[in-house]
Point group: C2
């Protein structure tokens, strides 16, 4: 494409509402343009990248036997009422005014209804059905550009199986295909177990990339590839033991001591020796959580443990239950009505310090086994940076992550709701066993940029770059430059996709800046001085490496670089 005849609207200024690099760079390089909150037009450069990603996905889906559908965005609301998901999606789902229609945020319902109509026998299973299509979700806080928008292109696929065993096969095929898709796209990613949210299912994995723009905190081990959402992460942190030096507890006056740090300082002991008491209220009981002083309660783990909702207690409740305020609470002598749960780090701990359930007093030399009633021990702490990995002992890292894919074992939730059954070998009806798998197209591009940019712009790889080559005519007033660059353009266009910056109204500086911003891997710079030596300059965008190449060697050099 000749730059002069193309629509590559590059922008020098950083858009004021774009915070993360990929959002800024996609707008500045003319890949996307906002139309409304969380709604983007894809401009030619951007859509070329998205098309390359769609093609990679299509190839990998076809190679696991996927068949491509294209399902409507408009869905009759009745279908979604049958599965109860009008409620579970709530405000996320767009409704069409005065029509019994919604805009589909995903397509389990439609797929299941098609399966119900046409799948009769076990002989017709398994099937993998996919589409690459626009989804609509009314994100309450659309942000980070195309990473979280209100309409986006998604590859969603659905497996139909006779049993959970064969579902595992379909699920694993997807897991392998997804890895190939990310590998081919050049994404550095990791896989974590995840909760399946509104999808409802019996097993799932998230494919994540590391990025400060991410909304999830992930615990990763760079050695053994352990990765987990912080909400469920565990580590191999060792318990610290404090020998018991006393046969009984000792009540000490700790005036104005409210926090664990203040307590440790006041008593001149390590923070770890202080046992923190945190109180939650459930429908049934007050719950006292006992943690090592420097640990935080992981409420997601607690929720899983309790299996019921809870809330932080009020000051009034604390006084009523314990006779003391926050900062002076502890497990010793609490009423039977209070359930006491102790984090594993404090299992069998001796010589720890707890509140005395009397304002401004603490107990020293507490032996939890001897002096208190512990109803349960559990891992309810938040893992911290540099703790040892649970599987290999290496230092853990805490990073921010963006989800780029999600695979679910749905089971029979939708087939039971919509009565999508098949006849087995014995002629009995059974619900079809389903899986559901999603990848966001624009998100892959944005995540790639998050991992591949510098202060000058994007750095594309061969797989995703919108064009193979970026040819720059330095000076369009020079007849020689015009003639040579035109000839090179004609020649290279036979084998490669080429942007030819033939603009006459901008300076060479602007052209160089735009080339770095667009981030095509190979730049070919045609200037007068090099032409005098029958040469042009090649600049590699990623390394910044430059070399002077004789005109007659250019084709060969480009071939070599593109290998």
């Amino acid at each position: 494409m000749r730059f002069s005849k193309s629509f590559f609207p590059t922008i020098k200024e950083i858009p004021s509402d774009a915070v993360i690099p990929s959002h800024q760079l996609m707008i500045r390089s003319g890949m996307i343009k906002p139309l409304g909150a969380g709604i983007y037009s894809f401009l030619p450069l951007g859509y070329r990248v998205f098309q390359k990603i769609m093609n990679i996905i299509r190839e990998e889906m076809n190679s696991i036997g996927g068949q491509e559908f294209h399902l409507p965005g408009l869905n009759p609301i009745e279908l979604w009422q049958e599965t109860g998901r009008v409620e579970s999606f709530g405000d996320i789902m767009f409704h069409v005014k005065n029509r019994q229609l919604i805009l589909a945020p995903t397509h389990e319902e439609v797929i299941t209804s098609i399966a119900k109509s046409h799948i009769r026998s076990y002989k017709e299973l398994p099937q993998i059905w996919y589409q690459i299509q626009t989804k609509f979700r009314n994100e309450p806080r659309p942000k980070s550009g195309v990473i979280r928008s209100r309409q986006f292109i998604m590859k969603d696929s659905y497996s139909l199986d006779t049993s959970f065993e064969t579902l595992n096969t379909s699920y694993n095929l997807h897991s392998e295909a997804y890895k190939k898709i990310y590998d081919r796209s050049g994404l550095k990613y990791f896989i974590i177990g995840a909760s399946s949210g509104a999808m409802g299912g019996s097993g799932s994995q998230e494919f994540m990339i590391e990025s400060n723009a991410g909304e999830d905190t992930i615990v990763v081990c760079d050695k053994c590839n352990y990765a987990s959402n912080l909400e469920i992460a565990t580590s191999n942190k060792q318990k610290i033991k404090f020998e018991n030096i006393s046969s009984k507890t000792e009540k000490v006056f700790t005036p104005n001591v409210k926090t664990i740090d203040q307590l440790a300082q006041f008593l001149k002991v390590p923070v770890e020796q202080c046992a923190k008491s945190v109180v939650y209220i459930t429908d049934k009981n007050p719950i006292l959580i006992l943690m090592q002083g420097n640990d935080q309660v992981n409420e997601a783990k607690l929720l899983t443990l309790l299996g019921t909702e809870f809330r932080v207690s009020t000051d009034e409740e604390l006084v009523e239950i314990f006779g003391a305020e926050t900062g002076s609470l502890g497990p010793v002598g609490v009423s039977k009505n209070v359930k006491v749960i102790c984090d594993n780090q404090l299992r069998d701990a001796k010589n720890v310090i707890t509140g005395a359930n009397l304002n401004d007093f603490h107990l020293m030399h507490v032996d939890l086994l001897r002096d208190s009633r512990i109803d349960a021990y559990a891992d309810i702490r938040v893992v911290e940076e540099n703790e040892p990995c649970i599987s290999c002992g290496n230092s853990l890292r805490l990073i921010k992550g963006i989800e780029v894919g999600h695979i679910f074992k749905l089971g029979t939730k939708y087939s039971v709701a919509l009565k999508a059954n098949y006849l087995d070998e014995s002629g009995n009806e059974n619900p079809i066993v389903m899986g559901s798998y999603g990848i966001g197209i624009e998100r892959i591009a944005a995540c790639y940029i998050e991992q591949n940019y510098d202060e000058n712009g994007i750095i594309w790889n061969k797989a995703l770059t919108p064009y193979d080559l970026h040819l720059i005519a330095v000076n369009m007033k020079s007849e020689k430059v015009i003639e040579s660059s035109n000839k090179i353009y004609e020649e290279l266009s036979k084998r490669y996709s080429v942007i030819f910056d033939d603009r006459s109204q901008v300076t060479a500086g602007v052209k160089f800046k735009d080339a770095d911003l667009l981030g095509i891997p190979i730049q070919i710079i045609v200037g007068e001085r090099n032409l005098d030596n029958n040469s042009v300059e090649i600049k590699l965008r990623r390394s910044g490496e430059r070399k002077i190449i004789k005109l007659e060697a250019l084709q060969t050099e480009i071939e070599k670089l593109n290998e």
Copy 2:
């Protein structure tokens, strides 16, 4: 694809709500499946055909310098309020409940807003921007399957120019590209001038295909390719002259004669000699239209002529204005208040018969020039089958047509409304001159089928067929058939896309019927008897021609057939 592992849900029965052949066949062959009124899921076979059409369109759009965008379906309503099209689309436009968003039925607004943001100078023009994307239109009576649905894939493109002269170039480029698209798709089409409806513009053409399923009536000349919507069609029908044999009119009693046919019979004259009077009422005048007896008033032409709305008169009005009822009206002696318009066929007619403006009486020997006041002559008749073509004189045909494409010269309507200007050579601001061009993807497939089917199913051509070859293993109980057909499948799959009907649970008859229904151009039938002679049978779907081919000659034969 192995049929046994694929989702090809063929249906024997004709769906009860599908009237036209393409609708029936697309459902029966498993290309599409209805999800709601005017909403269809595209199944794998159908989507393969649509993808082939999209690729043809993409290639032709790229070859005229088109740049591919992808614009959002969700649009802020404010943008559409600026151009006044929330009202002009009315109920056709879907609105999102409780959000200031609509679902875009077309994209002039978004394109113009992008041009406004980024186009500065005449140096950046012309541009051709296109997309292949889903449109949403709330058709009040969705019908004919994907030909008129509420969500459909459309290639829409927009040209941006500095002047109406260069707009003509962009318009003509599109016209040529469209012709290539239809030619490559194998559609027999014709081009007619058309009104530009809600688009608003200064010139447009419709690309139509002949089909009984069409909603428009088209007048076509098969010799010179004249084609016109019946609403504006003209012909070269000759006037018939009746010599004046009397120097004055003669009032005759015509009891119970109400229609022209009755009048002609009663007076024993040709119908053509009777002049029919039809009365309309406008805001200003009653209008008496005088037509030759066997002609019909073309109300579309009349609307253009009058430039104002009108309605048919009531019986009471007729008595009040003319003193007589329908069947006895005429132009002789009418009040000055009545405007008299005479169809060109009756220009200067002599010796015609008209009503006498007296119930049960007619006037004979009327000389329109001598006996009446004619305020205007015009072509206001409906052209009829077999009349001579206006440009070549050949017999005209009246056919039903379906629109498969539409190109418009928009001019500056949207650029003025949204202030999308460019600076010309002298530094003056001017509105960008725009064109808008659309092709419906599914409609091309449906129209192709309307033109290419028989009682057994679809007849695909090489360009649109979802697969190149349809391989049929006649008897999956025969080891020899299984082995040979598998080998042929492996071999042919290297170069062609192949459906391999390897089902063991259905009879050969079912396989043959499905193959004809799906309509792949070349069927390869592997049966025991032919294998005994080292042969297979080839059947060509269109001609029904069958030949026996030696196994070793099969590749060569297929190559020849695919040339």
